[in-house]
Subunit: 201 residues, 2 copies
Amino acid sequence: MLEILRGRPPRERADAARNREKVLAAAARLFRDRGVDNVSMDAVAAEAGVGKGTLFRRFGDRSGLAAALLDERERELQERILSGPPPLGPGAPPAERLAAFVDAYLDYLFDHLDLVRVSETAAPGARYRIGAYRFWHRHVAILLALARPAADADCLAHALLAPLGAEHVVALRGELGDERIREGVRELALSVAGRGREGAG
Amino acid sequence: MLEILRGRPPRERADAARNREKVLAAAARLFRDRGVDNVSMDAVAAEAGVGKGTLFRRFGDRSGLAAALLDERERELQERILSGPPPLGPGAPPAERLAAFVDAYLDYLFDHLDLVRVSETAAPGARYRIGAYRFWHRHVAILLALARPAADADCLAHALLAPLGAEHVVALRGELGDERIREGVRELALSVAGRGREGAG
DNA sequence: CAACTAAATGGACTACAGTCCGTTTCGTGA
DNA sequence: TCACGAAACGGACTGTAGTCCATTTAGTTG
């Protein structure tokens, strides 16, 4: 029923849906038990009782599989941004919403760091092609445009998202620790948003 | 990389030095002729007339080979920063030096984008382990500490370097173009440096 | 110059991501 | 119920990064 309402022209065949669930469950189990980096695609296919071809046909590549596993969590955060309470949701001033986004995104990131890293780095340029990145970018760009009407918001939004890349955070977590990373990106966001008051240059 | 060239107690054997040169020459030739992304490590070894084991023993991995090829160019930029004319070299106010660094680094990056991308991404976390990254980070951190004494300069410096990552630039070059990327990062740098006057928060 | 040792060598080997394609299964329309 | 085309399947196959180790070689010492 639900699939019918999410109108997609070519409906998913029953065996395909069953296998997709089997793969997602197997991957979640293996990633949890052995750690994301110690699980090969062959292992996922074997654990799911599915051929390699099926696995790759369904998810494209390793980063696609990771993205599929993150989908629900991502969507939850997106909902809170679109229609949750301020300052993360609508209603607060742009700079405050920006800071709240950085905080909330880092909560999400720290909780799923290895998986997000795979979803962003397993294929070249994967991060920027994923739908989720487009969402974060659009959100940040809109807020920046409100806070700094004269600036190139699209470009600054990409630059602000760069230090939120999983690879960056993984590499610096040991040196800086979670809280300094959080404060640093927050500070960067507030600086570029004109500290919430300045307006355009 | 620096360790290899700086005097180490055990001197490099003659055959090792000869093979290193053969490999670097072969890699430069193949990368130029076929494009960095179309050259495998096997191809480099074959072109150099050297075994695979030798290639990896000398350069560690694919990103190490790329880093070795970039070494000279990197050093040239480092020299200009340490002792060249202002605003890139010493003498200009911190925010101006920061903007000059962004410009000069992007010149270097746009000129060698594919090779830098390999040096940063061929191995996980490679970017942050390379000696060059440490240099850029230290330079930016020192300038930020001068411009914003109360801020966490080390952390902000990492965040400012994030949008200068080759992967980021490669992914956005098509969407934004070189000049918007340049202006965006420059703007970010000036914002976080307090636009050159503000001082600490 | 010969013996000796630590370093260097090279190519077979492993592990893994991703592709290809002959075979099987699903859903449909008669 | 059956027949049939489209979609999905699975596992053999390919290409590549990186490892391992038996063999070779450079440099040193007497």
